[in-house]
């Protein structure tokens, strides 16, 4: 579904990505793991079309142009950004309506908004309240719900568990695991490596802008080197 070859991104004088190769197959949940500054979010933001980059990102056989976020959403790539990206001055309902902004099937889209409010009952209850008044977990639900309303084929989740209470993080990870059953392809950027590897199919481990290793979730859990460096050394 998505192939990345030789991805390089620079922020001024700083090189954030130094030639990353990556593949995501249809229906997979793939994780990008690594410490702060490893380049995980930069990969997600490059795919979403928020950054200028060098190298090739091919999505469903088509090369993506750098900095074309609007076009990429219409192609089926939705990003839930780090920090959730809630439109705080809008109501919960208006945020959800922004999720169907690009859809042309308006009556079906409005029905999907109603379904989304049922899927996340807390959002239904706070429908007409300002999004800024939601708790962190509720805001994350809103951000994911809003992204799903654009009917994406590839969902990019950038550190969705950041700042959430453990219980809410568990709920969130269960929900992400369910996306597989819905046929959605997910790229999950996370720092909580151990918890992430329990729900993903494969993962890439990054350090200072490079992929240091990759493999199936189980293979990475079983690899003592990976376990020591990224999972807190249980081997």
């Amino acid at each position: 579904m998505l192939t990345i070859r030789g991805l390089q991104v620079r922020y001024g004088a700083i090189t954030a990505l130094r030639g990353v190769d990556l593949d995501i197959k249809q229906g997979e949940i793939v994780a990008l793991l690594g410490a702060n500054g490893a380049g995980k979010s930069t990969i997600a933001r490059s795919i979403a079309g928020l950054l200028p980059f060098q190298g090739d990102i091919t999505y469903q056989g088509e090369k993506l142009v750098p900095n074309a976020a609007e076009k990429n959403l219409r192609r089926g790539i939705a990003l839930v950004p780090e920090g959730r990206g809630i439109l705080a001055r809008m109501t919960v309902y208006e945020n959800l309506l922004m999720g169907i902004y690009t859809r042309s099937d308006k009556s079906e889209a409005m029905a999907d908004v109603a379904k989304m409010l049922e899927r996340f009952p807390i959002l239904g209850k706070r429908r007409d309240g300002l999004a800024s008044l939601l708790s962190g977990g509720e805001q994350q639900m809103l951000a994911i719900g809003r992204a799903l309303l654009s009917k994406p084929k590839l969902l990019l989740l950038d550190e969705p568990s950041l700042g959430l209470a453990p219980l809410m993080t568990d709920t969130l990870f269960k929900m992400i695991a369910q996306f597989r059953d819905e046929g959605l392809t997910v790229l999950l950027v996370e720092q909580k490596a151990r918890q992430t590897l329990k729900i993903v199919d494969r993962a890439y481990l990054l350090e200072t802008g490079r992929v240091v290793t990759s493999g199936t979730a189980q293979a990475l859990i079983d690899d003592p080197t990976v376990s020591d460096a990224f999972l807190g050394g249980t081997h």
Partner: protein, 292 residues
């Protein structure tokens, strides 16, 4: 008489509201003060004036002023803003100042620097409502302002386009990942803003029955004061601040003399900046907007 002064103040305030709304639409979305809006107002006024004296009906004059100002607003966005949008905020603002001076020069060359006068037969009717006399044009200004403000409110609050405008104003990057073309919406904000300024120009020029190339500076600066008093990030602040300043100005002239008129308006603006920089309708102090 007090009631008569209040009606006159409301009329003046209505025009301030339209023009302040025009400034706010660009300020709210881009965080820059488009100083050329004052001259779009003046050019709109001249176009309307010219069409009326050429024998066209009022709706055509309003449409002409609106379209003329909107077309110039597009040029300002394309030439004066778009190439400079990644520069520090003050750079595109200075560029709009350049446009402002050029437009004033163009108007002086086309229409001359002497005030143009509208013959008495235009919009001279007066209606007596009890103790209050309301001119035909005064009524048109008040009704048109209510209709236009309601229309802008509907577009901004209730339509997908308005939501997209608000999304770009709040967070350009988030708007982009939701499929909003921020560039297209920025252009739209300039067009809406220019159209409003053009209409306001036609209305005030016909209401006063006179226009000069310096009308934009005079009324435009007051509209900026109205925007600041209402809250630069709150486009509805102009709804409250416009009539407030209009009435304050008219009452000051009536009871204190015209020599202290500007002192009251700008004094109030400075007071607001010092005590409540987020404006009368701004929420938290952090809502005072970007530094420009």
């Amino acid at each position: 008489m007090l009631i008569q002064q209040l009606v006159n103040g409301l009329t003046l305030g209505a025009v301030y509201t339209l023009l302040a709304l025009s400034f706010s639409l660009v300020m709210g979305i881009l965080g820059i003060l488009n100083l050329a809006i004052a001259e779009l107002f003046m050019i709109g006024g001249y176009l309307g004036f010219t069409l009326i004296t050429a024998g066209f009906p009022l709706p055509v004059a309003v449409l002409g002023g609106m379209l003329g100002a909107a077309v110039i607003a597009i040029a300002i966005e394309k030439i004066g803003y778009q190439p400079l949008r990644d520069a520090p905020l003050v750079t595109p603002m200075l560029s709009t100042l350049g446009f402002s001076i050029i437009l004033q020069n163009v108007a002086t060359n086309i229409w001359g620097s002497d005030p143009a006068q509208l013959p008495d037969e235009y919009f001279g009717k007066q209606y007596a409502l009890g103790p209050v006399n309301i001119g035909e044009m005064q009524l048109i200004v008040l009704v048109a302002t209510v209709v236009l403000v309601a229309l802008v409110a509907y577009i901004v609050q209730k339509t997908p386009m308005g939501r997209a405008l608000r999304a770009v104003a709040e967070n350009r990057e988030v708007a982009r990942i939701l499929g909003v073309s921020a560039d297209r919406l920025t252009m739209l904000a300039f067009i809406l803003s220019g159209s409003l300024a053009g209409v306001a120009g036609v209305l005030i020029a016909l209401h006063y029955g006179t226009i000069t190339p310096y009308l934009g500076v005079e009324i435009g600066l007051k509209a900026i004061a109205v925007m600041v008093i209402g809250g630069t990030r709150q486009i509805w602040g102009a709804l409250v601040a416009g009539p407030l300043i209009g009435i304050a100005e008219v009452l000051t002239v009536a009871y204190g003399g015209s020599q202290v008129r500007d002192f009251v308006v700008y004094g109030f603006m400075i007071l607001i900046l010092l005590l409540r920089p987020q404006g009368l309708l701004g929420g938290a102090r952090s809502d005072q907007g970007q530094r420009v």
